[in-house]
Symmetry: C2
Subunit: 354 residues, 2 copies
């Protein structure tokens, strides 16, 4: 198991350190474990003048998986676009072909009260958003700015998808639905956008290979409403890069505890990048206050998806549920009557619970 | 007062008829009222083979304002894009330069329980989303589909904004914030898209003319989260066409009673199109079941924004609050202990309450 560890910026360091601790504990001496740390984000700029140094890309390519912390610093607007700490993640996604971004939104029974939604609306919530991650308006060419025919300044990006790009993420979506409740909702804006008409057409065609999966379609505006109105109606949602960016954050917020949610970004094989959904949180960085559970749960996704170790993944997930049931809480999820712990203590508790 | 009335499809007819009833009652004989009905949507196809017949555009152009019902029919995917009933609205927006779409999201105290969010999160909610309506990926050229350099089918749309397009909606946004709580949040995706960098730059510059308005910026994914986490933090939100489509539907759903929400789409002067946020609801069309209050509240917006009659607007709004306080409910907002009424009865009750 060769894993590239990229803590990145802000709380990325602290939470990733706990996930590494759990990784070592769960894998133990059962197999050789090689961890290679690489600088990314502001750390990459500090180390090599580039948020995504060539050495980091190289380490990533030689690894089986990446454990990612978080990248980005406030106030980077003055820096050229692709040199910003946050952009390192975009470049990495594209370079490594990480096209399938899994963002589960599930509710821990212990944290039911944390949601701003009524308990009956979100209790038992367990949905998976699959966001296409290397196409769409994020990467479409042409892009840029200039002067239009009327002499006005303008800027533009291109929302673009090819048939193979849609096909491959659709296959992943149907296979994912198969491993769950066999219901897939594809979200687009086919009533307005040609690119989304192609999306709907291709997803529908791919769906013929999966007659056992129920396929529905929603326009993105209706999907945003339904996520809020009745989120439990969904099993798997598949959508493009920008709609997925918006809907997956909304879905994460349904749970009320975004500090708890992991994500996985997979390439064509078993290679993947695993990262907590939360950001760098510079305000609490370095204070032993951050919640490491999202990073630890991302590690569990890595064990399952990149290393085909479902048993180890479940051990980690069970341990997380156990520390929550025992009443341990970092500040972000603290409720009265619980025991407040720091980042390190939470990581140690998960290890102990295994 | 010359008003083009476009009931459109589905429940559009019934709800618009009630708004017209209220309009006649509120304006009374105080001034000449000219109502001209025009076919649009499926009704336009039936009448003239085009969802937006030339005669309808002509009537619209000669009017001071448009009272719009709802357009669109399920299963229109086989029809060429711009000939679909739902597309008539897009064409009308563009033809008439209706660039400023106001979508208020407010909670009626009587309907507090209808939201899926906890009462304390949404009680007293009163936010205004201003969505740019004639630019962005909805109308950007080039658009279409074809075969790419690798011989694959692909499709594309262009997210494009010019400086003047952003400027004019920004001015409307700041003026709107001035008439409210003087807080404006501009939503973009400037961390990824060049077009949204221009958006942020121009909104920021325009903001210097409004030093009394507090301007903040949020990325669209963060905005979707914040709308769900703490929607009352917002006063006015301004954003582009596609992000506005998604966020305004999410904001509407916060209230739990989308059948209650009006909208206005304004051109440069006082000309505007007024329509309920809800759709054609073909399943309940023609059954005297639809809720006409969103259409009636759209009429109130018309009186205020196109005819500068704030007193009449308030009379209508007060009457709506009154019938709710009296316990009258259509099926969509029915609660036990209330009196269930039909579309016509609800309209009549509003007239009576005035
Ligand atoms: C940081 C940003 C570029 C990124 C994105 O928009 O993809 C983030 O929001 C995410 O969802 O991972
Ligand atoms: C019907 C559709 C084209 C339209 C849009 O996307 O603008 C609708 O969703 C709206 O918000 O008015």
């Amino acid at each position: 198991m060769k894993i590239a560890v990229m803590p990145g910026d802000g709380i990325g360091h602290e939470v990733t350190a706990q996930a590494v601790k759990v990784l070592k504990a769960v894998v133990g001496h059962t197999q050789p474990l090689e961890l290679v740390e690489a600088a990314i984000g502001q750390a990459g700029i500090d180390a090599a003048g580039d948020p995504l140094p060539a050495a980091t890309s190289e380490i990533a390519r030689k690894a089986d998986a990446i454990l990612f912390g978080s990248a980005g610093m406030p106030g980077d607007e003055a820096i050229p676009f692709m040199m910003r700490p946050g952009a390192s993640l975009l470049r990495l996604r594209k370079e490594l072909g990480l096209f399938a971004n899994f963002r589960p939104a599930f509710l821990f029974p212990e944290l039911l009260g944390a949601s701003t939604l009524k308990p009956e609306v979100v209790e038992g919530l367990d949905l998976m958003i699959l966001r296409e991650l290397t196409g769409d308006v994020y990467f479409g060419e042409p892009r840029g700015s200039g002067i239009n025919a009327m002499g006005e300044r303008e800027a533009f990006n291109t929302m673009r998808y090819s048939e193979p790009e849609i096909e491959r993420v659709a296959h992943v979506a149907f296979r994912t639905a198969r491993s769950r409740q066999r219901r897939l909702c594809s979200v687009d804006k086919a009533n307005v956008l040609e690119v989304m008409q192609l999306w709907r057409e291709v997803v529908t065609r791919v769906g013929r290979d999966y007659p056992d999966v129920e396929l529905t379609h929603l326009f993105v505006d209706a999907a945003a409403m339904q996520l809020m109105r009745a989120p439990k109606q969904f099993d798997v949602i598949v959508t493009g890069n920008i709609f997925g960016d918006i809907l997956s954050d909304a879905a994460a917020m349904l749970t009320g505890s975004i500090g708890m949610l992991p994500s996985a970004s997979l390439a064509a094989g078993s290679f993947g990048l695993y990262e907590p959904v939360h950001g760098t949180a510079p305000d609490i960085a370095g204070k032993n206050l951050a919640n490491p559970l999202a990073s630890i749960l991302s590690l569990a996704m890595m064990l399952r998806l990149s290393f085909d170790q479902p048993d180890n993944a479940e051990r980690v997930e069970r341990a997380v549920r156990r520390v929550l049931a025992d009443g341990l809480r970092t500040g972000d999820i603290y409720q009265s009557g619980c025991t407040r712990v720091g980042t390190e203590e939470m990581g140690a508790a998960v290890v102990a619970a295994m």
